[in-house]
């Protein structure tokens, strides 16, 4: 009896000691793995995120993509950039969102082709617990974690103010807009129209909504100019609209009579600055959008605080006179890797 009583506390002590020892060694093993910095730690299982753009061919979206890639490399995320073949195809975007939900993405960075039609799929993602970050153009959803975009209204105003400044006579304005359901196109149009209207020298504003393709823009612009030859100012509200309008003006031979204020840049539209079809370009900061989008995703995944749920990216006005300034060069002409 006495013997037994003596053994019990001793064995308890030994058990506790062994338990502590094993816990400690377990910690050491896992601790060693956790020692390297947070970026390297994730190498075992990188967080998978998806960036869904509107297009993967335009210079704008290529720049978004390279910004996103740069951030993904820096924050060691497994990033996938996808975009529909056409900038009109919101259905394809919706299926990409659903694929991202199925693929258990940790975050979705999204640019909506259609403000309303993409909302349902985005809400599904948010309900599935995937944070959504909107870049470039907004979607009609309450649950979006962060919006990173150009202040499109201000960008429109910027173009409008330049138009007013450059033309001291009566302005007859043609607006070549794309999808009527795209939020940022509408905001730019609003900003542009407000700015020119404030001058009090506007005779008329004619708006066309075409498909978001170069060909459609070309046809719309040609048609518009044929119908209203008095138009002397055109606002082309995105990259493809700029090209379509530029070509139309060039082919109609009215480059000197018509000033085009366009959005975004690529090598062709920059060339048109020199040749005179396009008067000015409002250049956004797509690289920053891509980069900040992924950086924000990283912060959300790792429960780090966000500075704000809305980040405005910068815009720059580029004209023939400043296009070769060092800073503008760096912004407008992509560096081929």
């Amino acid at each position: 009896m006495r013997n037994k009583r003596n053994v019990t506390p001793l064995s308890i002590f030994v058990c506790i000691f062994l338990l502590a020892l094993s816990m400690f060694s377990v910690f050491l093993i896992f601790g060693k793995r956790n020692q390297p910095n947070p970026l390297e730690r994730a190498t075992d299982r990188k967080s998978f995120i998806v960036v869904i753009g509107k297009s993967d061919t335009s210079a704008f979206w290529q720049s978004v993509s390279s910004g996103a890639h740069a951030a993904a490399a820096e924050y060691n995320l497994d990033m996938n950039f996808v975009a529909p073949a056409s900038e009109e195809d919101y259905e394809a975007q919706n299926s990409m969102i659903r694929a991202a939900i199925m693929g258990q993405a940790r975050a979705i960075i999204f640019s909506a082709i259609d403000y309303n039609a993409n909302a349902e799929a985005i809400n599904e993602a948010i309900e599935a617990g995937i944070p959504v970050i909107v870049i470039d153009s907004d979607v009609n959803s309450e649950g979006v974690s962060c919006r990173i975009m150009t202040d499109n209204y201000l960008a429109g105003r910027m173009a409008g103010e330049q138009a007013v400044r450059n033309n001291l006579g009566t302005l007859t304005v043609g607006v070549v807009n794309y999808d009527v359901n795209s939020a940022n196109g509408q905001q730019r149009e609003q900003g542009f129209c407000d700015a020119v209207n404030e001058s009090g020298r506007v005779a008329d504003i004619y708006t066309v909504n075409c498909l978001s393709t170069e060909e459609s823009a070309y046809e719309c612009t040609t048609e518009l100019l044929n119908e209203h030859p008095e138009i002397n100012t055109i606002a082309a509200l995105n990259e493809l609209m700029s090209l379509g309008s530029g070509y139309a003006v060039r082919d109609l031979g009215v480059a000197d009579e018509v000033d085009i204020y366009a959005f975004d840049s690529n090598v062709v539209s920059v060339g048109m600055l020199e040749t005179g079809e396009i008067e000015g370009l409002v250049v956004q900061n797509p690289y920053a959008m891509g980069y900040l989008g992924v950086e924000t995703a990283y912060r959300l995944i790792n429960d780090l605080p966000l500075s704000s749920d809305h980040i405005d990216t910068t815009t720059t006005y580029v004209s023939a006179s400043n296009m070769y300034d060092t800073n503008i060069q760096r912004m407008v002409f992509r560096f081929e890797g």
Binding site: E274, Y324, T326, N327, Q329, M331, F335, E336, G337
Partner: protein, 569 residues
């Protein structure tokens, strides 16, 4: 006082916990300090060395690249001078062979373009030519421009650096040759360079403008900024806010290679990992210490406290104390068992002492009572009175003196132990009185060793034995003889009372030690024996040797105890 307070404040388990915690804490702190000082220095050094090496390598590569280009330029130049007719073919070949040469252009002395050779279509109308820029007009100087886009090609704007060579003489209507070399080759190389985990290299010109930066897109997009005053740094490594900047100026142009390495990530991370590991170790050790100390306390401290309480209780009330065994470690159990044993033993001894005390008082009282036996007194006084009547005054006086001495020694001021000398006198007095009374019915002799007289014995030891001998032994005998002998026997003293009386059977002898002498003949052998044993211990006492019709010898054994050493036993 202070010591006592201190002693009371710390329990063993608390002290143990404190000691272990302090020891581990100190060890961890020392380890951290050593790690921080020794390893931080060496890691810093290693980081700087690796940054130096990387930057050196980059500068060598870029130097090679630019020298290569300058060499090509020199060849073009000399060939053009020697054989102007081959110039056209030379340029064509160059742009065909070297994919990184985008364009070759020549200009006349007025900077008018005199020819462009390129694999890409040129613009119909050239508004701006960024590849043409003013160079110092100083002979055969080769000039390398900052990166810029080529602005003369149709829908193609590659980033290039322009290498320009100005001639002091015209060669086939060209005073200046410019080669536009793709910058992407250098850029791609710079992109690949890594220093440490996060470090990188970038190129800056002498005015602090960034020529190429791996993250230039971020810088241009306003998302990143380099330190503004880097151009003021001299060549070599500089440590600014935990960032190592390594600067190296290229040999053949005013570009600087700047390596950026973060010390934080290499050193601070390890230190913080070490700190967190240490903190964890510390916590685990503290937890383990608490567990072990509580176990220790459960096994030892608490039982020890209980035991201490029990001891205190025992101290306060020894007689009624009931000990409940305390359970703990083996040591505590042993202590508990020993204490239990001790308690029982002490309680038994206390009981014994109490009983003995009682017995002693009783027996002493009896002995005294026996001395003041009224019969003896009455008879003696009767004898004295008779002597007086007969005119035997001297005898009467001796008798009275003997009686007085007898009582004086009997009482002995209340002492139980008296010197043997006194006891012998006592016995003598008694015998004297009895001899007067039983005139010459018996005689007696004393053989007392002088050395024995100082030793102590119980009072009224010899007298009862002599009384027994007189009344029972010599009762029927006319010539009775009593011998009293006192002598040493090793460590003991032997007192013998021998008579030549009727003797006793063994049963009678045994009865002597049972009968407690309550009969009318005063106190018995038992009383004397009991008193000796109570005072001196069980190994001492009375032995009786007797044979019928031969006589009886009563032997008393007591230890040698002197007045001075009375209380030692």
């Amino acid at each position: 006082m202070f010591k006592r307070l201190k002693r009371a404040d710390f329990s063993l388990s608390k002290a143990m916990t404190m000691v272990v915690v302090i020891m581990v804490f100190t060890a961890v702190i020392i380890a951290l300090v050593i790690f921080n000082t020794v390893f931080r220095d060496s890691l810093e050094e290693a980081a700087i060395t690796s940054a130096d090496q990387s930057v050196e390598q980059v500068s060598v590569t870029i130097n090679n690249y630019t020298s290569d280009m300058i060499e090509i330029m020199d060849k073009l130049y000399t060939n053009s001078i020697e054989d102007p007719s081959s110039q056209e073919e030379l340029f064509r070949n160059l742009i065909d062979i070297r994919n990184d040469v985008v364009m070759v252009a020549t200009y006349d002395v007025h900077n008018n373009n005199t020819g462009i050779w390129s694999n890409y279509p040129t613009k119909e109308m050239i508004y701006t030519n960024l590849s043409l820029f003013p160079v110092p007009d100083s002979g055969e100087v080769i000039n390398i421009s900052a990166p810029h886009v080529v602005s003369v090609l149709e829908n193609y704007y590659p980033w290039v650096v322009t290498i320009t060579k100005t001639a002091d003489e015209t060669f086939s209507n060209a005073a200046k040759i410019a080669i536009d070399v793709r910058f992407s080759a250098i850029a791609r190389y710079i992109d690949e360079v890594g220093i440490g985990r996060h470090g990188y290299c970038f190129i800056m010109d002498g005015d602090g403008n960034i020529i190429y930066h791996p993250q230039q897109q971020l810088i241009y997009a306003g998302l990143k900024r380099e330190m503004p005053d880097l151009m003021t740094l001299s060549d070599g490594s500089h440590m600014i806010d935990g960032v190592i900047y390594t600067v190296k100026t290229l040999d053949n142009c005013d570009w600087k290679i700047i390596g950026v390495a973060y010390l934080d990530e290499t050193v601070n991370e390890r230190v913080s990992a070490m700190i967190s590991a240490s903190v964890l170790i510390f916590i685990i050790v503290v937890l383990m210490t608490f567990v072990s100390s509580s176990l220790f306390s459960y096994l030892f401290t608490k039982p020890a406290k209980k035991l201490a309480h029990a001891m205190k209780d025992f101290e306060d009330n020894a007689a009624d104390f009931v000990f409940e065994p305390i359970e703990g470690s083996v040591e505590v159990n042993n202590l508990s068992d020993s204490f239990e044993h001790l308690v029982k033993r002490i309680q038994r001894l206390m009981e014994e002492v109490k009983n003995e005390e009682t017995t002693l008082r009783k027996t002493e009282l009896k002995a005294l009572q026996a001395q003041i036996n009224p019969h003896f007194l009455y008879n003696t006084l009767d004898s004295i009175s008779w002597m007086c009547e007969e005119g035997k005054n001297e005898e009467a006086v001796a008798m009275v003196n003997a009686l007085a001495k007898l009582f004086r020694i009997s009482i002995s001021r209340g002492h139980e132990i008296i010197p043997i000398e006194k006891e012998v006198q006592h016995a003598e007095c008694y015998l004297q009185i009895q001899k007067y009374r039983y005139t010459n019915h018996f005689d007696y002799e004393f053989e007392v060793e002088e050395s024995c007289k100082e030793y102590l014995c119980n009072k009224i030891t010899l007298q009862p034995l002599i009384e027994n001998a007189l009344y029972h032994g010599l009762n029927m005998i006319d010539e009775g003889h009593i011998a009293i002998r006192i002598f040493e026997d090793g460590e003991d003293v032997i007192m013998e009372v021998e008579d030549n009386g009727s003797g006793m059977t063994e049963e009678q002898v045994e009865e002597l030690f049972v009968n407690d002498g309550t009969d009318h003949h005063g106190i018995g052998v038992k009383n004397v024996n009991d008193r000796i044993k109570i005072y001196f211990g069980d190994k001492y006492g009375i032995k009786v040797r007797s044979e019928l019709d031969e006589g009886t010898c009563v032997t008393i054994r007591i230890p040698k105890i002197t007045e001075e050493r009375k209380y030692e036993k």
